[in-house]
């Protein structure tokens, strides 16, 4: 009796999902870490945009209610049962999802990961929001764009052992030659603590009175540095830039302590993931190392040895667009 009831409800649920779809539509499922997160809602917006541009594509935006691998496995199983054409997933676990995603691929479903990847076996291709080289270049470009005649800049990083930040700063140092006149006078570490970052930023302004910009490739550091610049009365003199989230940086953009900063754009990311999934599912492109795949307005991406690709430069946020994004993520 219970079992029958369960079957009925499953059938009803499946019916609800399958309802409005016409037979020819290609169905691409955008599976996110959890529903209700601004970042992913924005990615879904981008996916809808891609679907509209492509035509004949239906987006199924879905995910578990909390960020667990188990929840995503359930969602994927139900998508397999619905026979969707492609799954584009931002994974809660690198390895745990592999068996389920393999099953999906065996049933002929195109599987890609984006944002947060799964192990090579579990997907055909992976889309990173950006690459270390692009980020390294972007953080110095952000500072240089507001210093046409060159100037002194300093880096406020997280801890001395933060892998990401160290790689980005290395990449930045490599391309420094392309920005003549930009002098990196110091690199300091705020340990991703608000108080220490604030103190280090204050120290930078004291020991380098001619400082023109502080580059902070960390979300705690950039907020603290902006506050330190505002408190020291150096707004307009010292520009704080780097990597941050629009919701956290809205105040700094408003006060003028930061003219611009960068982070990936979730709308572009959802758009590109959908485009990539569509290209692979329609067999317009194959997922193999070195393949160049066109992803609509975002240009072309190139897959590397592990079939991963970088979407684009981090997206720049400033006074002109901060209002649109500060409530999203």
């Amino acid at each position: 009796m219970k079992f029958a009831k369960l079957m009925t409800s499953v059938a009803v649920a499946a019916g609800l999902f399958a309802g409005p779809v016409s037979a020819e539509d290609m169905r691409i499922a955008l599976v996110v870490k959890a529903l209700g997160i601004g970042f992913f809602e924005a990615a879904a917006k981008g996916a809808e945009e891609a679907a509209e541009e492509l035509g004949g594509v239906e987006i199924i935006y879905t995910g578990p209610v909390d960020t667990t691998a188990e929840g995503q496995i359930e969602v994927i199983n139900s998508l397999i049962a619905q026979r969707v054409d492609a799954i584009a997933i931002s994974a809660n676990d690198t390895d745990a999802l592999v068996p389920t995603l393999k099953k999906a691929m065996q049933r002929g479903i195109t599987v890609i990961s984006w944002d947060s990847g799964v192990a090579d076996d579990g997907r055909m291709a992976h889309l990173n929001p950006s690459s270390n080289a692009l980020i390294g270049n972007m953080i110095v470009k952000l500072a240089a764009d507001h210093l046409p005649d060159g100037g002194d800049v300093a880096v406020l990083s997280a801890t001395t052992t933060s892998t990401n930040q160290n790689i980005w700063i290395d990449e930045m140092t490599k391309v420094l030659g392309n920005y003549p006149g930009i002098n990196v006078v110091s690199t300091v570490y705020g340990d991703d603590l608000a108080d220490k970052s604030y103190r280090e930023a204050t120290g930078l302004m004291q020991s380098h009175p001619d400082l023109d910009a502080i580059i902070a490739p960390t979300s705690v550091g950039i907020v603290a540095a902006a506050q330190a610049v505002a408190d020291a009365g150096n707004i307009g003199k010292v520009n704080v830039t780097g990597l941050g989230l629009p919701s956290e940086m809205a105040g700094a953009i408003e006060s003028g302590a930061s003219k611009s900063f960068a982070i990936w754009n979730p709308i572009d990311l959802g758009y590109s993931a959908t485009m990539l999934a569509h290209q692979l599912a329609t067999e317009a492109a194959t997922a193999e190392p070195g393949a160049e795949i066109a992803i609509g307005r975002m240009g072309t991406i190139t897959l590397d040895d592990s079939n991963a690709a970088a979407m684009a430069d981090p997206f720049v946020y400033d006074a002109s667009n901060i209002a649109d994004f500060k409530d999203i993520f």
């Binding site: 991703d192 603590l193 604030y198 103190r199 120290g203 020991s207 919701s247 006060s255």
Partner: protein
């Protein structure tokens, strides 16, 4: 008493020497405006250290101060977002009451259940951080969401010094009076100095420890608002690991970990010493890899020095027996 006084004089001398040393490498450090900035920057540490001192004097320790600060600060920020027009004065009173309540939880567990304080506060430290996560889902409260008066209060200038610095001075004065001139203050010293003797004089040891935790919590709550307003951001990990700085400030300031000995002035100087080190290191251009080692070495040297000067010379009763073996 003369010993304590001289210890504070030595610490004051050490701070002056440190400042002078920094000035040789970076003259701008001794400009009055910068010294005021250093004092203001150290104010949260001073307020917390005074609270911690009271607890340590009773032979306890409070590791939950930074987590208490973070939780109270976050709740203040949430109240501010929900009710931007609530006067700051009301919010400060709320912060102190809430902090005191959180401190009282520690105190009750130590008093009524006789759980060792280090275990109790280690537990509540994690619980408080966990509660922040439950309240916020890990989200931040940012500068643009807080009201202007909320963030402006601690940095408003009064006679050339930000309100934050004045609050630290006010707290210090009140606590000097409490410790020296009230029965509670004397009971706190008695409980730490000799708990058995304290019982015989009619002091309730557990209740005194409970009150010490409540005071520490109240000051942590007050600092919670000040901290969030000063850095204009609230999130789960705010002031992470700061409890260790607070204990270090007490120890440097000559507060005996064994309880019963130490003064408010000593604690202030201990906090100031750490504050000068923290503010000096970024401007004297020392490799960040050395900074941690230098801070740590300063703590050990100061404590070793304190231990040395605090050691009472044993009396030799039998001169001949000393050389017998």
């Amino acid at each position: 008493m003369t010993l304590l006084k001289s210890r504070e004089a030595i610490l004051f001398g050490a701070i002056a020497l440190l400042v002078a040393l920094v000035a040789t490498r970076f003259p701008g450090f001794v400009v009055p405006s910068n010294l005021i900035a250093v004092f203001t920057d150290t104010s949260p540490l001073m307020i917390l250290a005074i609270g911690q001192m009271v607890v340590i004097l009773t032979r306890c320790i409070d590791l939950s101060v930074a987590a208490n600060l973070a939780l109270t600060g976050m709740v203040c920020a949430m109240i501010n977002v929900a009710m931007p027009d609530l006067p700051i004065f009301v919010l400060i009173c709320f912060a102190m009451v809430m902090g005191a309540a959180l401190g009282a939880i520690n105190g009750l567990l130590v008093w009524k259940l006789s759980i060792p304080p280090i275990v109790v506060t280690l537990g509540t430290m994690t619980i408080f951080r966990g509660v922040i996560f439950l309240l916020t889902d890990g989200k931040w409260i940012n500068a643009h969401e807080m009201s202007a008066s909320f963030t402006a209060f601690p940095r408003a200038s009064l006679l050339g010094m930000p309100v934050l610095g004045w609050i630290a001075i006010l707290v210090a004065i009140v606590m000097i009076v409490v410790m020296a001139r009230t029965t509670l203050g004397r009971a706190i010293y008695a409980v730490g100095g000799n708990p058995h003797a304290a019982v015989y004089t009619g002091i309730n040891v557990g209740r005194t420890q409970f009150l010490a935790f409540t005071i520490s919590g109240m000051l942590a709550g007050l600092t919670g608002y000040l901290w969030i307003a000063r850095y204009s951001v609230a999130y789960v990990d705010i002031a992470g690991g700061f409890e260790l700085d607070v204990v270090a400030a007490c120890v440097i300031g000559g507060i005996s970990i064994a309880g019963g000995a130490g003064t408010v002035v000593g604690t202030l100087l201990g906090a100031l010493f750490l504050g000068v080190v923290k503010n000096a290191l970024p401007v004297v251009d020392i490799s960040p890899f050395w900074q941690l080692a230098i801070s740590g070495a300063a703590i050990i040297i100061a404590v070793a020095f304190n231990a040395q000067s605090g050691r009472s010379k044993g009396r030799i009763i039998l001169k001949s027996a000393e050389h017998a073996q």
